[in-house]
Symmetry: C2
Subunit: 342 residues, 2 copies
């Protein structure tokens, strides 16, 4: 398929990433060993260096707004929401160092948004290893930069994102009307992977997102924060496989029933999920599992492992017109708080 | 629904568990701290004690063959394949101690099979922490006890079941024609669970089974051992959610493509999976994902968290007659090697 077969370029991509062309010089007394830097690579590419090694070779579409905007129509997109490459979230750095790097990233994203003529929106990054700094940076990206929300990791140094210790952050997001996009990061289960390093992204990421979403459900986040808008990357990862068993477990185990204020299915139906699953039957299964009101486009653009036909894939899945509009853009508008849903 | 509404009691349950009424006295010089024992509980129940604590309160249906057989017709079952409660697999004990306990369990299962009049079959347990002892016990359960196969954990002390280090065991299973049933055990991702202890079974188990099945695919087990018959518990856990992304990753990452002799989907279509997912849309999605030839009934009987209507659930899913016969019993016959499939 190509752009000609699409009915409209009306899609909103809530899951796309940014890497700046350069990383800032560190300002402080002790350079963190994992402070990122850039090194040359082949034409139109650079190497992201972390801890002295090539973390990833990335294309200039990561920072070149013009090249990015040129790609959007063929993908069926009218708006792309960009967030930092997750490894840059820097939860493992000293808080002040992370805050320094994330402030730079947030300002870089704001610059791209400003030059995009309305075709890009930003999700900021906050140093969640320090609650006060995280809330301060949240206020900066929402109030000063005007972003619709933030990107957070599926876990913060091993603490699942649904852990009640993170509730003050979600309370602040709810109060500010900030959307929260949860992306896989440094996943659990690495010790079970048998094969090349890319399995971290391929297998580890969806597993950690599934555990992250499950942790929000088992800790009643949608009940604790009824006005919070929170979305999960990679179709919610493994959550679709976990949910029926969690629902049945809730019926069977008194301790689980006592600990959850609403059923797992009911709570899952209040979270958002992107459509980045690379498979039409799985996409239909997500709609059946989570509801047609909760899915929104995600692409992982511009990384190699991104979905090049996100809107066409949805258009080809045989949904009715209303569902099609929900999945391509209306749910994203609601998640991002861009405008009131009719 | 009840037994009257079922069309036949033709089902074969490949996933049901046994606990003996008593555990044996330890014979040796140093009693392992986690050697199991039984303690009294309410009527018709006993407490499995491990390391001085109640591991689980279980009903006498775990060991009472008569009570078990009485339950089979209402579940639509003509045959139940019983295997040890996974926590008894004892991979963490000294090999000789585990072998002592597992031999007792295997003989107990053989006794239940013998008194069942053909309504039960057994899957044995082997001490996979020691390859030589494991293969010796495999030969005992197949050649002496006449079992169709064995139950193994999704990981052996943290080593995913697809790890090539375990290949000598699968080579022996292939040579002996022994079916292998992979059950979740001591799962990865425990540090991401937020809620009561039962989440280990509810969320952790399917996650570890998914990683186990993925490890078999990424390590080419169906290619290395083309005649091995291997099945995964809990519908393959999270594998259905992981597989489309693994397929796409195989297309995108050269190192992954180079390491896998056949596509992930092709390999996944050679593994078996039980139907224990408690949800009709998910069951249909498993058939679409793995193929109607690869699913077989699983119940987790007689534990609290078991499927009481496994065959009715399949009958209610709207499959055609051929698929219905495959899922209820024909695939299980093929997996177990009970008779040649017509």
């Amino acid at each position: 398929m190509n752009a000609k077969t699409m009915r409209c370029a009306c899609g909103i991509d809530a899951h796309a990433h940014v890497i700046p062309e350069n990383f800032p010089a560190y300002i402080g007394s002790k350079l963190p060993g994992d402070w990122p830097s850039m090194a040359p690579a082949q034409a139109c590419h650079r190497n992201v260096m972390i801890s002295g090694k090539v973390y990833r070779t990335v294309s200039d579409k990561c920072w070149d707004t013009g090249k990015r905007l040129a790609d959007l129509p063929a993908m069926g997109l009218k708006l792309q929401v960009v967030s930092p490459m997750p490894e840059l979230l820097s939860y493992w750095m000293a808080p002040a160092d992370a805050q320094q790097l994330l402030r730079y990233l947030n300002d870089q994203i704001a610059g791209m948004v400003a030059e995009s003529g309305g075709a890009l929106a930003g999700l900021g990054a906050v140093p969640l290893q320090d609650m006060d700094l995280a809330i301060a940076e949240l206020e900066y990206v929402v109030k000063v930069l005007g972003f619709p929300g933030v990107e957070v990791g599926s876990n913060i140094n091993g603490i699942a994102i649904g852990d009640p210790r993170l509730d003050p952050f979600f309370e602040a997001c709810e109060a500010l009307g900030a959307a929260v996009f949860v992306h896989a990061i440094r996943p659990a289960g690495m010790e079970r992977l048998v094969g090349p390093a890319s399995l971290q992204q391929v297998i580890g990421y969806p597993g950690d997102v599934g555990l992250a979403a499950a942790s929000c459900i088992t800790s009643n986040l949608p009940v604790r924060r009824p006005n919070l808008r929170i979305a999960f990357s990679h179709g919610g990862g493994t959550l679709a496989s976990l949910l029926p068993r969690l629902e049945q477990g809730w019926d069977v185990f008194p301790a689980l029933k006592d600990s959850m204020a609403q059923s797992p299915r009911e709570q899952a139906g209040k979270l958002f999920y992107d459509t980045l699953v690379f498979d039409t039957p799985t996409l239909r299964h997500l709609v059946a599992s989570f509801g047609s009101t909760q899915l929104l486009v995600g692409t992982d653009y511009p990384f190699n492992f991104h979905d090049r036909t996100p809107v066409e894939r949805i258009e080809a899945a045989g949904f009715d017109e209303a569902t099609l509009a929900q999945l391509t853009h209306r749910n994203a508008e609601r998640f991002l708080g861009l405008k009131a849903n009719p």
